[in-house]
């Protein structure tokens, strides 16, 4: 077994040159505290020698998934060795990603490639778990030599950007502000999307399966001024209190409860890509990864998208782009987009071509 890992390490070093091999992945056990993980692990380990833990199928699958994603990211961003801003996040999320592929029922390589391609584009190649402004603190974080994110510094950088989102950026200060800025791999933005995800996670915890299956983003309520409104980009603390009551009426609640007393600090903590971060019992890797899978339910549940999930075609890529990014005629007229042409005058065409490139790269790496 020892020789297997040494051989694997040598092969990786040769293939990736100075790229950081996922030490965390190979060394990191599936979370002992996660009941679902334990169950998966127990099922898959059944019949395995207890002393042969490193050889279990789950570890192999996670390592393989890590290698496949690395392969695809290199192709998409034309990088011989992935920069640390990508490997740190990948190492952190890959076990949860592997687990969620099963629990969220993404079974085929084609659907996984569609999902990951959209994720690559949204998270800037897995480099962002919080919407950010690329100031000196971020650059210093990127350039640090550590193979994992330094999350105390990461949090400082996040907080430094608050002023930009609350006071400088003309749209966000009038809309979602720093409180509801993009977080997680899918960059969940706006109160209604956060509510949708926490409705889902609460339903998961309460065992309300049909509610957990929803991609629900419509939350009407009567605000403190007596107006009947729908949850939009921004919700005040008193709005969240009212919405929590409507959650309770459905047998759910906003969890972790700290969301009610200090939403922004809580979600900032939940979006940190480091081990042992989050707000107990809600681990940050659950929020960062699961929020993107919750979003994918929209593609799985709606008949406009679902027939294309297992298809390898430009039409399928366009349809998945509409699912994640939003419906638009540019994507519906995908056949008129020439991805070899200079599409600099149309950002939507660029967006489609970027997602298309990522899908093709991911699928070819799965099929190696």
């Amino acid at each position: 077994m020892k020789y297997f890992w040494i051989t694997l390490l040598c092969l990786s070093i040769t293939a990736c040159q100075i790229e950081q091999k996922p030490e965390e992945v190979t060394q990191r056990p599936i979370e002992e505290n996660d009941e679902q993980n334990q169950n998966d692990s127990e099922q898959e380990d059944s019949g395995q020698d207890e002393n042969n833990q490193g050889d279990n199928p789950t570890t192999h699958e996670i390592t393989k998934l890590h290698d496949n994603i690395t392969c695809a990211l290199k192709k998409v961003y034309s990088e011989n060795a992935l920069p640390l801003k990508r490997t740190r996040t990948l190492n952190f999320i890959v076990a949860r990603l592997h687990q969620d592929f099963k629990s969220y029922n993404l079974t085929s390589d084609t659907e996984k490639a569609h999902f990951l391609a959209q994720l690559f584009h949204e998270s800037d190649g897995l480099s962002a778990t919080v919407e950010r402004v690329l100031g000196p603190t971020w650059r210093s974080l990127f350039n640090a030599p550590e193979t994992t994110w330094q999350c105390d510094n990461y949090l400082d950088a996040v907080n430094e950007d608050d002023h930009y989102f609350n006071h400088s950026y003309v749209y966000s200060k009038n809309s979602y502000r720093s409180k509801f800025r993009g977080r997680g791999l899918i960059q969940l933005t706006g109160c209604f999307n956060y509510l949708g995800y926490f409705y889902h996670s609460s339903a998961q915890d309460e065992g309300l399966i049909s509610e957990a299956e929803l991609h629900k983003t419509y939350f009407p309520y009567t605000d403190s001024e007596g107006d009947y409104i729908q949850a939009g980009m921004f919700c005040s603390d008193s709005d969240l209190e009212i919405l929590n009551q409507s959650f309770k009426d459905s047998g759910l609640q906003l969890v972790p409860q700290e969301l009610l007393s200090d939403f922004e600090t809580t979600v900032d903590e939940l979006a940190l890509p480091c081990e042992a971060r989050g707000v107990y019992p809600f681990k940050s890797e659950r929020f960062i990864v699961d929020s993107s899978f919750w979003y994918w339910k929209k593609c799985q549940n709606q008949s406009y998208f679902s027939p294309y999930i297992d298809q390898n075609s430009d039409q399928a890529i366009a349809r998945m782009t509409e699912c994640i990014h939003g419906k638009n005629s540019v994507y519906q007229n995908y056949a008129n987009i020439d991805c070899n042409a200079n599409n600099s005058s149309n950002w939507r065409k660029q967006s489609y071509c970027s997602r298309r490139k990522a899908f093709k790269a991911m699928l070819s790496c799965f099929k190696r």
């Binding site: 749209y171 409104i229 729908q230 939009g232």
Partner: protein, 182 residues
């Protein structure tokens, strides 16, 4: 010289934009009473709107009577539009009419019917109502009314931000400028 003038214009524009403060615009769901009638394949949802700007609001589902139709004919006062609603708002297929309060008196009241959302943002079918004149403006990203009477919308594309600046001119919503950053 041309470049310098352009830079100066961009600078002045930025100064102007950065000094603009918005109202706390919110999307109010119009109170209503629903009366649905179906005939053949068509259903009409007639609504009594308790809003001073609106005398008549009617949604006709085109070719589907189960409330799941995606194509609708919407009539707001005298303005009509055939629109597509991609996303279902809730299990019953309920479609809300939302009001965006004008920031200043010279601006029209905007009414919005939700169409779709994605990581780019939310999109609505917009109608304007001003001095008893109602018109369909089209499908647009969520508009925020600014205090000076102009509007702003925002779309995301991965790490990029797209900000659009709109002005109400000659009874039309005119795109003044679109910024893509970085």
């Amino acid at each position: 010289m041309i470049l310098t003038l352009k830079r100066a214009r961009v600078f002045l524009w930025l100064i102007l934009v950065l000094t603009i403060q918005s109202t706390s615009a919110k999307y109010i769901i119009i109170n209503r009473e629903t009366n649905q009638k179906c005939q053949g394949d068509f259903c009409t949802e007639s609504l009594t709107i308790k809003d001073s700007d609106i005398s008549n609001f009617e949604i006709k589902a085109l070719g589907n009577k189960d409330g799941q139709a995606k194509n609708f004919q919407i009539q707001l006062n005298k303005a009509r539009a055939q629109v597509t609603i991609l996303d279902q708002q809730n299990k019953s297929g309920f479609i809300a009419l939302l009001k965006v309060s004008p920031a200043v008196n010279k601006s029209p009241s905007l009414y919005a019917v939700y169409a779709t959302s994605g990581s780019a943002g939310r999109y609505y079918h917009y109608f304007s109502v001003q001095a008893h004149k109602t018109q369909y403006l089209g499908l647009m990203a969520e508009l925020i009314a600014l205090k000076d009477g102009s509007y702003i919308s925002h779309e995301s594309d991965g790490p990029r931000q797209i900000t659009s600046y709109w002005q109400w001119k000659k009874n039309q919503m005119v795109l003044v400028k679109e910024e893509v950053t970085p």
